[in-house]
């Protein structure tokens, strides 16, 4: 195995190690082993998706036969039937609405709170911060019923706000943790000199801290958006008007109301995951950098 296995971008500028220079057979072997391992795990990561796609293009008879990856009689029928059965655009809009509202609120509310925790001094800061952290360990199932009862009294049960508000609140521990760390790594001199120049607290927050913490903000946005998109439990007990279903509930309802075969189910699953995969791919560059920023320091 080559020493480059531990090299980092920074290290690459350093002196090459003695093992690295010659292209001896050992290096080639170890490189192929590395390549093989990487390919193997890529295959494992993609395995369920490959079968999702495979089943989605099989017809009702073929899917019963089970186990072959490449459909013998590939058909688009299953996919298009499922597409219309799933009312994709309606439910997609609902999912998008819930996910966007949740994500935006999480970023806004907890960026502000984390700025206060990381930068400002006020009585009760540590206690409140600890409270938010401890909430990380409260099992969701304990609050499921109280949420439903509370929302019924607030008259928001079954509405999208009835999903967004508990989701936002539920993301609090994670968001506070991540963003407080990110803001803490910003040198306080920047804030002090801006204050000297007469910038107000809001200005400092918006024009210094937010841009510098952008990777962390994108990270928390994705770590909020992905589970929100896939959320199933609270949505399942609180929504009952099919007009307001999100995609996971539509999928679940489709499965439990008319007991579909695996080809239809997989086509629906595919329709459900593709948007969030696209979202992730488009944001992943920032996402990775954001995680780096979050653990740095």
């Amino acid at each position: 195995m080559s020493a480059s296995a531990v090299s980092t971008p920074r290290r690459a500028t350093g002196a090459p190690s003695k093992e690295r220079a010659p292209r001896n057979p050992r290096t080639i072997i170890s490189r192929s082993v590395v390549g093989l391992l990487l390919a193997l795990y890529a295959a494992i990561s993609l395995y369920p998706f490959a079968w999702m796609v495979s089943a989605a293009f099989k017809d009702n008879e073929e899917v019963l036969e089970g186990g072959h990856l490449i459909p013998r009689n590939p058909t688009l029928q299953t996919f298009s039937d499922t597409w219309s059965q799933l009312h994709f655009f309606d439910y997609f809009r609902n999912s998008l609405q819930v996910t966007l509202l949740t994500t935006v609120l999480v970023v806004v509310v907890y960026a502000a709170a984390s700025y206060a925790f990381a930068v400002l001094r006020f009585p009760g800061r540590t206690a409140l911060y600890r409270l938010f952290l401890v909430l990380l360990f409260v099992p969701g199932v304990v609050t499921l019923l109280p949420i439903v009862l509370l929302e019924h009294e607030l008259n928001i049960l079954g509405t999208h706000w009835g999903l967004v508000l508990p989701f936002v609140n539920g993301t609090a521990p994670l968001a506070v943790l991540l963003l407080t760390n990110a803001f803490s790594t910003v040198p306080s001199e920047l804030r002090e000199s801006a204050r000297m120049d007469g910038a107000g607290e809001l200005r400092v927050f918006a024009s210094i801290y937010l841009p510098l913490a952008r990777p962390a903000l994108i990270t928390i946005a994705l770590l909020t958006a992905i589970p929100t998109w896939n959320e199933y439990q609270l949505t399942r007990v609180s929504l009952n008007d099919p007009d307001s279903y999100t995609l996971p509930i539509a999928l679940q309802a489709m499965q439990s109301e008319s007991v579909v075969q695996y080809n239809t189910l997989m086509a629906a699953a595919l329709i459900l995951v593709v948007p969030i995969v696209l979202l992730f791919l488009s944001a992943q560059r920032y996402f990775v950098n954001g995680l780096m920023g979050a653990v740095k320091g």
């Binding site: 007990v237 099919p242 309802a253 008319s258």
Partner: protein, 459 residues
């Protein structure tokens, strides 16, 4: 636990189609319940919505009162929603409930109107005598409600919290008629032994798809749909009840219990592969698609099979038969109420709500409802049920027994209070289909578990 657990809801939910979805969309929205000529009704059965809406249309023409039907599924969502609405007095006017289950729980908690004063003999005379009293708090229910941990706390003897809307039973085996004919069987088996022979013959002829499917993902099905009716016929009424007692000389661990389990265990080689992971619907689907040759279900299964493309004429149906030398060799299955109608305390128009319930109970309306929902009505269908509700349901209705020796699946009076059929079913599933341990182990484990319920109750 009542004799007709929540899985029936799941089963019926499965009947819903895209058509129902549209109907629900149309039915939703609006808070309802405020105006006196507008009633709101919640049901947990998606498949009942179109049929109820059709009845509601007729009801509106006759009375001017509109009824909005809303389905709330799945069951945990329905119960959560009712709990939330009850706290703020926002319940709809009418609820469809599980008979002798939800109705007593809701009634005991003060959520429902007591209908005992309204539902008189003239009303109940429309029903089959076997189910006419379902929804009443009998002495047994009342006594049960007094024990600690009872879910029926608060009921009074003689109250009535629901009238039946649909009836049926489980313990019915569906077999693929064509495939049976291929191996020379044209008649249903008269005994458990013949049934096993039949399974064996088909299994040998069709090693891949000759098996019997059952949705063990709801583990109580193996217990309540197969073992219990078989054991009831085999042992007779009192010895059967004693299986659930804490008497080691008579319960599942006893000679009787192990004998029943030994008979039941003979089915082990014939399960469809993977049946232990299937939901009830998936098991039925595997039968409908020909991946299995037998399927265990209830009266409600036929409609599902038909909806999924299975030709009802190709189905041979028979009650789970008792073994040779049984105490009740010709055991039938007694019908019981599966779901009922309840009027809530929060109704703004009690008279209107009662009118709607009374309207649905009329035999002609009930027959229409039954045909549309593919569910059996509680009403007396006369000597020719086929004429009243069509051939499929009619055959089902005819298969129900009113004999006093019939197995009455809804009678749960012999069970301890905290009894949870899902967990008892799990223990039984360990025996078959999971094939871990012999009948004596299974009997001991069942007896121990049920013993724990008795000691919980007597604590």
């Amino acid at each position: 636990m009542t004799g007709h657990p929540r899985r029936l809801a799941r089963r019926s939910v499965a009947l819903a189609s895209a058509v129902t979805m549209t109907a629900v969309l149309a039915a939703c929205g609006g808070t309802g319940g405020g105006s006196p000529d507008e009633l709101e009704m919640w049901t947990f059965k998606q498949s009942h919505v179109p049929a109820l809406e059709q009845a509601a249309e007729q009801f509106e023409q006759e009375t001017g009162i509109t009824v909005k039907i809303q389905a709330i599924t799945p069951d945990d969502a329905f119960l959560t929603k009712v709990a939330a609405a009850a706290r703020t007095n926002d319940l709809p006017d009418i609820l469809e409930v599980h008979s002798n289950g939800d109705d007593h729980t809701f009634g005991g908690a003060g959520l429902l109107e007591d209908l005992s004063g309204v539902v008189d003999e003239e009303w109940t005379d429309q029903y089959l005598p076997a189910v006419a009293d379902e929804g009443m708090v009998t002495q047994e229910y009342y006594e049960n409600s007094l024990t600690p941990g009872s879910k029926w706390l608060g009921v009074e003897e003689g109250q009535r919290f629901s009238v039946p809307l649909t009836i049926g039973t489980f313990g019915i085996v569906y077999a693929n008629r064509e495939r049976l004919a291929e191996v020379g069987y044209t008649e249903p088996p008269a005994t458990w032994d013949e049934f096993i022979e039949m399974l064996d013959a088909v299994g040998q002829a069709r090693p891949d798809d000759g098996g019997i499917a059952n949705g063990f993902r709801a583990p109580s099905t193996g217990l309540e749909w197969l073992l219990q009716p078989m054991a009831y016929g085999m042992l007779g009424d009192q010895p059967y009840r004693d299986l659930f007692s804490d008497d080691p000389a008579a319960n599942w661990g006893s000679e009787n219990g192990v004998a029943a389990l030994t008979e039941y265990g003979r089915i082990q080689p014939y399960w469809t592969p993977g049946t232990q992971s299937l939901s009830i619907d998936e098991a039925d689907l595997s039968f409908a698609h020909g991946e299995s040759t037998f399927d265990v279900g209830g009266t409600f299964t036929l409609a599902f099979l038909e909806a999924n493309g299975f030709d009802p004429d190709n189905a041979m149906t028979f009650a789970v038969p008792p073994p040779e030398g049984a105490a009740i060799p010709d055991m039938g299955l007694a019908p019981f109420a599966l779901t009922g109608l309840s009027v809530t305390k929060d109704t703004h128009n009690k008279e209107g709500a009662l009118d709607w319930v009374r309207f649905l109970s009329q035999t002609d309306v009930a027959q229409d409802f039954a045909r549309n929902a593919l569910d059996l009505p509680p009403n007396d269908l006369g000597p020719n049920p086929e004429d009243a509700v069509g051939p499929v349901l009619g055959a089902m209705a005819a298969s129900l027994s009113s004999d006093e020796n019939a197995y009455h699946a809804a009678d749960t009076s012999y069970r301890p209070n905290a009894y949870d059929s899902a967990r008892v079913g799990e223990v039984l599933a360990d025996f078959t289909p999971l094939d871990r341990g012999d009948p004596a182990d299974a009997g001991r484990n069942l007896a121990n578990l049920i013993e724990s319920y008795w000691s919980e109750q007597n604590r």
